[in-house]
């Protein structure tokens, strides 16, 4: 099947019932997407599938044929051109151990890019599917708020 991943069309040979997470990590070696629970609770495996954030541990790869996926590796336009959310997460201290960070970066980038980061409460609601055990969330909310403000100024 053909899947567009981070802007490039890829030919994927996999059992259609394989978890998208495993295909990304093992077949395509896109290991930025993490597995924290395998049951859709922690959000560490979040990716964007046709404009919607999904838990890639709950998606069968067969459902992705002909569709477009963005992983954390696709957020930045090169090492010198991080997404505003990634820059803000570094600047604000929103990443600690970092294992939840790719999922949060993907989800937060989607929220910011679609103009949904309108308040701190809204940011908290929309990120409630991503668990972080290190930060207490405050500095992540600060980062998303800062990235949203930067996008608005542009």
């Amino acid at each position: 099947m053909k899947i567009t991943i981070n802007g490039s069309e890829r030919e994927v040979h996999a059992d259609p019932w394989a978890r998208l997470l495993d295909v990304l990590r093992e077949d395509l070696r896109l290991t930025g997407t993490k597995e924290g629970c395998g049951e859709g609770e922690c959000g560490a495996c979040s990716v964007i599938l046709d404009g919607e954030v999904v838990n890639s541990c709950l998606v069968a790869v067969g459902q992705c044929a002909g569709r477009a996926i963005t992983t954390v590796e696709g957020l930045a336009r090169g090492p010198e051109a991080l997404h505003a959310v990634q820059r803000a997460l570094v600047a604000c201290g929103g990443a600690q151990c970092g294992i939840c960070t790719p999922g949060i970066a993907v989800c937060a980038a989607h929220i910011v890019d679609t103009g949904q980061a309108t308040s701190r409460d809204k940011i908290r609601q929309l990120l409630a599917g991503n668990i972080c055990r290190c930060t207490g969330y405050q500095l992540i909310v600060d980062a998303v708020e800062q990235a949203a403000a930067e996008m608005t100024r542009k």
Binding site: R25, L30, T31, G32, T33, K34, E35, G36, C37, G38, E39, E41, C42, A44, T71, V72, E73, L75, A76, P79, L82, Q86, L89, V90, A91, C92, G93, A95, Q96, C97, G98, I99, C100, T101, P102, A105, R120, I123, R124, Q125, L127, A128, G129, N130, I131, C132, R133, C134, T135, G136, Y137, Q138, L139, I140, V141
Partner: protein, 718 residues
């Protein structure tokens, strides 16, 4: 300075253990016990499984001693046939195969045969020795602290003089660390040497445990930390178990072998915070001065000793709290049960006993009709006072500073019955607390942690070599800052190398809020000495380096007596005050945190953003422990071993945090810094319980305060 590893983490480039490629790597899985107590009579292999594609390892395949060495030799790497099974999910055998699926299938095809014995889960049953699990009394460790009295009779005489006595019993539950990267480890053998890499806090703990197990010399086993996705104590002792398992599998398979726990397995089998029951009696005179305290702490250690004695030690040393009291007795016991072993978790015994004493102080305030904040301020320890071990407090006592910081922002308490919301109740709670930084007593002197700083003139670069791991708390960044400042160098020229026992000296474990204060101090001194040599014009051998290795020396005047448990329990303490405002919904019985203020005296915040992140993360773990985190044990098994049912706070559960960094410098820490990692975990649970009581009345002496607890209280009252 932003985190050194920040960009790698936000782009997904950071490689955790499961992201690492090893050519021809096999996958391992663990066959576990299904009963809480019994005798392993045999291990059966399903004959219908194709065993040509997988290997099985049992205790019989261990080349050295079958034990996970840390404090005692009581915990095996695998239960041997004929030996005792001590808890559900205890490792019995191991399998490995070229794919994960095959390994899991092989795991299901190995069936332990266990003759069940009576099991025991209750601490009182353990004290009564209903089933004998450990030595002749089930007691892993006990402590007795006496201050201001020589006998129980003298203690009771002090209580007999009391104007009033507050007597309460407090229960805190097990807590799962819930690092988001599950336990993960990989091993490979080359030329009879074993190379182990994985997610861990303490490479030298793993090294210590592997030498006797694998019957190898110190240079024949190399332990390297991979980028670690959280630890919080959960990767302090348990990684030695995984290391043993991958090492044995890799040896038998003749391939690299990786084990990555599933979330359910990780919750079910690995260590958690010790459940604890504390009885606290507090005597006051007519003026409200505390004249005596008697505290009895009992922790459930689970099936093996692990780090329980040290956890209990910290628990009892904090049990009397940061309050003046001339006559104090603290007793502590940690006892064996057939629960999976409990172990290290941020705070390390102190959160349990802090909950008890801060509930007691709250009750005292209520009994006397005194403002709870003013009462704490009136009774708090200050420089010139002594702790329960007789330690005379002198330097870096931040009591007045943290209390003033909270008073400045507290504002009026929320109205108990908010206007326009008849089904809501609001309350405010405080907690004043302290936390000893670094190892207990003479621990740091005994450990003598070392670190090296080196300069390579050919490249103009510096290297920091320490075994302290970055588990998210920012050790790499903090060491970079300390070294660069002391060397007078651009931080971009400083590299903190990945900890591997082949390349770094033993700086001690990454625990006990000691990495910045103790190891950071050693890095600071090594950097200064190295700078002096460079500035004196010393030259390195061709292609070589100038290196300075420094060993930790305790500050002067630190004297501790292990026999009597008296003296300087810690070189210095962090001081903290927490304020919580919350709302209780009388229809849904939910408690939501409206406000959480933490003012914490950290000595000096070397990187304020990182310190703030540490405090807020620890605070939320404590709020979760108070309100919603709950390990449900059923017949010795974790009944909610998955993230759907074993919940931790989300973005939506967390309040906006008000974090106040207070800096009362510690002259023997780098730039005045003292520990910060654990302290924020100790206090908020009591502040929550105090606030719930303020909102709806009653005593909330056990956590978690789940909605059903609130419901039972409200229904009982009406």
């Amino acid at each position: 300075m932003p985190r050194v590893d920040g960009v790698a983490k936000v782009t997904g480039a950071a490689r955790y253990l499961d992201d690492l490629d090893a050519p021809g790597c096999w996958y391992g899985a663990t066959v576990r016990s299904t009963v809480p107590h019994g005798v392993l009579e045999g291990i059966d292999r399903d004959p219908s499984f194709d065993w040509s594609r997988a290997i099985v390892v049992t205790a019989a395949d261990i080349p050295g001693k079958n034990m996970i060495l840390l404090l005692e030799e009581d915990q095996p790497a695998l239960v041997a046939i004929g030996a005792k099974v001590m808890h559900v999910d205890e490792p019995i055998a191991l399998v490995a195969a070229p794919t994960r699926e095959l390994a899991l299938a092989a795991c299901r095809a190995v069936v332990p045969r266990i003759r069940a014995l009576p099991a025991m889960y209750d601490i009182d049953a353990s004290i009564r020795r209903e089933v004998l699990l450990y030595k002749d009394d089930n007691v892993f460790k006990e402590f007795l602290i006496r201050k201001g009295h020589a006998s129980d009779g003298e203690l009771e005489a002090a209580f007999a003089r009391a104007h009033d006595v507050i007597d309460g019993t407090y229960v805190t539950s097990a807590q799962e660390q819930m690092y988001i990267e599950p336990q993960a480890m990989m091993a490979e053998w080359r030329d009879d040497k074993c190379f182990i890499v994985g997610s861990m806090q303490c490479p030298y703990y793993v090294h210590k445990a592997m030498k006797p197990l694998l019957a190898l010399g110190p240079s024949d086993v190399v332990i390297t930390q991979s980028v670690t996705g959280g630890g919080f104590g959960g990767k302090e002792e348990y990684p030695s178990m995984l290391a043993a398992h991958v090492a044995l599998l890799a040896r038998a398979a003749n391939h690299a072998v990786k084990i990555v726990y599933t979330r359910d397995e990780d919750i079910a089998a690995t260590t958690k915070r010790h459940p604890c029951r504390t009885r606290h009696r507090l005597a006051v005179d007519a003026t409200g001065e505390i004249i005596a305290m008697d505290i009895d702490v009992v922790m459930d250690g689970g099936a093996y000793l692990t780090l329980s004695p040290v956890v209990l030690s910290r628990g009892v040393l904090h049990a009397a709290g940061p309050y003046r009291c001339p006559v104090t007795r603290v007793r502590g016991r940690c006892v064996a049960t057939n629960h999976p072993p409990h172990g290290a978790f941020r705070g390390f015994g102190a959160p349990q006993t802090t909950f008890a004493y801060e509930r007691q102080l709250e009750k005292l305030a209520r009994r006397r009709g005194e403002d709870p904040f003013a009462l704490r301020s009136r009774l708090a320890l200050r420089a010139g006072d002594t702790t329960s071990t007789g330690q005379l407090l002198g330097i870096s006592v931040g009591t007045d500073e943290v209390l003033a910081a909270v008073a400045a922002v507290a504002g009026p308490p929320p109205g108990r019955e908010p206007a326009g919301a008849p089904t809501k109740r609001r309350g405010r709670g405080y907690c004043f607390y302290f936390h000893g930084a670094g190892f207990t007593g003479s621990g740091e002197a005994r450990l003598a942690g070392r670190a090296t700083v080196a300069y390579a003139p050919a490249t103009g670069r510096y290297e920091v070599r320490a075994s302290s791991t970055d588990i998210g708390q920012g050790a790499i960044t903090m060491f970079t800052q300390i070294a660069a400042a002391a060397l007078g160098a651009d931080p971009a020229l400083v590299t903190v190398i990945d900890p591997s026992t082949a390349n770094v000296p033993d700086s001690g474990p990454t625990v006990a809020s000691r990495t910045c204060m103790v190891v950071g101090g050693v890095v600071d001194r090594a950097s200064r000495l190295l700078r002096a040599r460079i500035e004196a014009g010393e030259t390195a051998p061709a292609g070589g380096e100038l290196a300075e290795t420094v060993q930790y020396e305790p500050p002067p005047g630190i004297a501790w007596d292990d026999a009597t448990y008296t003296g300087s329990a810690y070189p210095v303490y962090g001081w903290a005050c927490c304020l919580v405002d919350l709302t209780i919904d009388l229809d849904s019985y939910e408690v939501s945190i409206d406000r959480c203020v933490q003012a914490i005296d950290v000595g000096k915040a070397i990187n304020p953003v990182i310190v703030k992140g540490q405090i807020e993360g620890g605070t939320l773990q404590a709020l979760g422990w108070a309100l919603l985190e709950n390990i449900v044990y059923k017949d010795g098994r974790v009944a909610n071993a998955n993230m759907t049912n074993c919940i931790v706070p989300t973005f939506a559960d967390a309040p906006e945090m008000e974090t106040i960094l207070v800096e009362v410098p510690y002259p023997f820490g780098p730039s005045g810094a003292k520990g910060v990692g654990e302290i924020p975990m100790d206090g908020p649970a009591a502040a929550v319980a105090n606030a719930v009581g303020d909102a709806i009345g009653g005593d909330f002496d056990a956590i978690p305060i789940l909605p059903e607890v609130v419901a039972a209280h409200l229904r009982g009252r009406s």
